[in-house]
């Protein structure tokens, strides 16, 4: 079975690019059989990104009011993800809904880990803030460590 790492975000919205940045840091550096995906679209695409995988790491920016750069590690197997990872609206579903959709259809990888990186500034065209940049390095290292621990 295979593993995927999916970075979610918008490259032009400041700290919203955190997930994409982690994907870029990891791309080309991981063992064979681990594929890295950047997801700039809507999260239902996650279901095809992790198709056939038994392990998935998903990284996204959060806006929960915590300190910018705060990293949280959540296991989707433990139950629904918190509200700040929901984006369902008239127009799209959020990561939390994509996870629940996958769970309902039996398409959730056995081990699905979501890393949330709290963003501070989501302005159009803004660069990643320093705190968030540091957090992306931390999350990339954590994912590498998790992959090596499992062999």
């Amino acid at each position: 079975m295979t593993t995927c790492v999916v970075g979610v975000g918008n490259a032009l919205r400041g700290d919203d690019a955190a997930g994409l940045e982690v994907a870029r840091l990891l791309d080309g550096t991981l063992p064979d059989g681990v594929h890295v995906v950047e997801c700039e679209g809507e999260p239902v695409s996650l279901l095809s990104a992790w198709e056939g995988c038994d392990t998935a790491f998903v990284v996204d920016a959060t806006a929960s009011g915590r300190e910018p750069g705060t990293v949280r590690r959540l296991s989707a197997g433990d139950g629904p993800l918190p509200p700040e990872l929901q984006r369902a609206s008239t127009h799209l579903l959020g990561i939390a809904e994509a996870v629940e959709l996958a769970r309902a259809l039996g398409r959730l990888p056995e081990r699905t880990i979501v890393y949330g990186i709290e963003g501070g500034c989501f302005d159009t065209g803004a660069p990643l803030s320093e705190e968030v940049r540091a957090a992306t390095l931390e999350v990339a290292a954590a994912i590498r460590r998790e992959l090596s621990e499992r062999g």
């Binding site: 918008n10 490259a11 032009l12 919205r13 919203d16 997801c39 700039e40 679209g41 809507e42 239902v44 695409s45 279901l47 095809s48 806006a63 509200p83 700040e84 929901q86 984006r87 369902a88 609206s89 008239t90 127009h91 799209l92 579903l93 959020g94 809904e97 629940e100 959709l101 309902a104 259809l105 989501f122 302005d123 159009t124 065209g125």
Partner: protein
């Protein structure tokens, strides 16, 4: 004693600002209907100033995670029209094919995952997956096929990186495209079946006297481009005259501009406008699907837009198959585009309606000014009018039902108000 009812749906911005829906009633009288919306394109307009004209497709593609191709096409067309060149032949056919992929993907997401739950009495696609997993699996496969078309032609599923002003960075081989055929044939059948399924839903009553506006693409169903705008009440003007006919107004409650036709008022863009104005240009299979379920030639009940979207998926599958069958690898992936000073205009039919771009460049191709008019800001005024009319006709509904129907009314337009928003809480107030 009269009582005042307030029905409110709050969105909290993922990024900044707030938006939502407010319906205020006193007894059976509708006092106020407001959409309060945060909309990102305005911020992108400022961001584009000072950039090179070649950057516009990549930058504007980030406005929407669901219809990046629409933004890439309208911006490229604007730059090419200013330079006096036209991307035609197979280069243009590939653009239309890419756009078909986006229509399949976007319409599928909306029809099955966002709109169908309203009609089926389930709160979301997640619940729908529990009661009708086969339907959701069909939707996932359809959507994936749309994404696959985008990946093969555009180089990536979302935010295709292969698109450039003047054409492409590289063009696919015939074999690349032919591999898509079996899936597209399956998708055509699945979407024909989808038309039957959605036509059998129960539709709330509402008939509106719309002025429909869509691009005219000269003898073909408008998708990737169009030289003129036409309306169901006789307007017919070149896209460069957009602002002679459309006024955009700041509305205090929203940082999205509301568009209206000068001296005429609200108008509607999107699937039911394209269908009303260009029905006879649909593919034979799409027309047959519409005929089979007895779809009226002009749809005035906005809730029935879900059927038209499904018919347009059939059309997009047919069109994709036709374009692939006729494809010949072009000799070069792009044509030269030499910038010059002036104003450029471009428009295409995003899944949710006409998307107009206007740029002013200086003679070295630097963007001096950008205007982006997305379909949703053109529809906002009409959405409010629909809500107003719907609530007036259904004051007897209890609050929960009325609130759900109001949300469903907004979803009739598949509005792109929320690329940047979380849907969080909802308050219903009664005084």
């Amino acid at each position: 004693m009269s009582s005042t009812r307030t029905i409110r749906t709050d969105y909290l911005a993922r990024v900044e600002g707030e938006g939502g829906m407010l319906v205020r009633m006193r007894g059976d009288e509708v006092v106020d209907v407001q959409l309060r919306i945060y909309e990102p394109p305005r911020f992108f307009e400022a961001f584009l100033r000072g950039r090179q004209f070649t950057e516009a497709p990549d930058i504007t593609a980030r406005i929407c995670g669901i219809c990046p191709v629409a933004y890439q096409m309208s911006s490229s067309l604007a730059m090419e029209s200013l330079a006096g060149v036209e991307v035609d032949g197979q280069l243009r056919a590939l653009r239309r094919l890419l756009y078909c992929g986006e229509w399949i993907e976007s319409h599928t997401l909306h029809v099955f995952m966002l709109h169908a739950p309203d009609f089926l009495g389930v709160p979301s696609a997640v619940e729908l997956a529990k009661v009708d997993p086969a339907l959701v699996e069909t939707a996932l496969r359809l959507k994936k096929i749309g994404n696959e078309v985008m990946r093969v032609v555009g180089g990536r599923e979302v935010h295709p990186i292969n698109v450039r002003v003047g054409g492409w960075y590289r063009t696919p081989s015939r074999a690349d495209l032919e591999r898509l055929v079996p899936d597209l044939e399956w998708a055509r059948e699945a979407s024909q079946q989808a038309v039957r399924v959605v036509a059998g839903l129960d539709f709330p009553e509402l008939e509106q006297d719309y002025e429909f506006v869509a691009l005219d693409a000269g003898g073909e169903y408008p998708i990737d481009r169009g030289a003129r705008f036409v309306s169901s009440r006789g307007l017919d003007f070149p896209i460069s005259e957009f602002y002679d006919h459309v006024v955009e107004e700041h509305v205090e409650r929203s940082n999205a501009l509301h568009a209206r036709l000068r001296e005429r008022g609200a108008y509607l863009v999107g699937p039911i406008a394209r269908y009303a104005l260009h029905r006879e240009l649909l593919s034979p299979n799409a027309l047959a699907s519409a005929g089979e379920v007895g779809l009226e030639p002009v749809v005035r009940n906005p809730f029935r837009s879900i059927i038209v979207r499904a018919v347009e998926i059939v059309h997009a599958c047919d069109e994709a198959l036709r374009l692939i069958a006729e494809y010949e690898e072009p000799p070069a992936p792009s044509i030269e585009v030499v910038p010059r000073a002036g104003w450029g205009h471009g428009a295409s039919e995003a899944p949710r309606g006409a998307l107009y771009h206007r740029y002013r460049l200086d003679d070295d191709g630097t963007i001096l000014d950008a205007k982006i008019v997305p379909p949703t800001s053109q529809n906002l005024k009409m959405i409010e009018e629909d809500l107003d009319a719907f609530v007036r006709g259904h004051t007897a509904l209890d609050e929960e039902e009325l609130r759900l129907r109001c949300e469903q009314s907004i979803r009739n337009y598949d509005p792109c108000i929320s690329c940047a928003t979380h849907f969080l809480t909802l308050d219903v107030e009664q005084e």
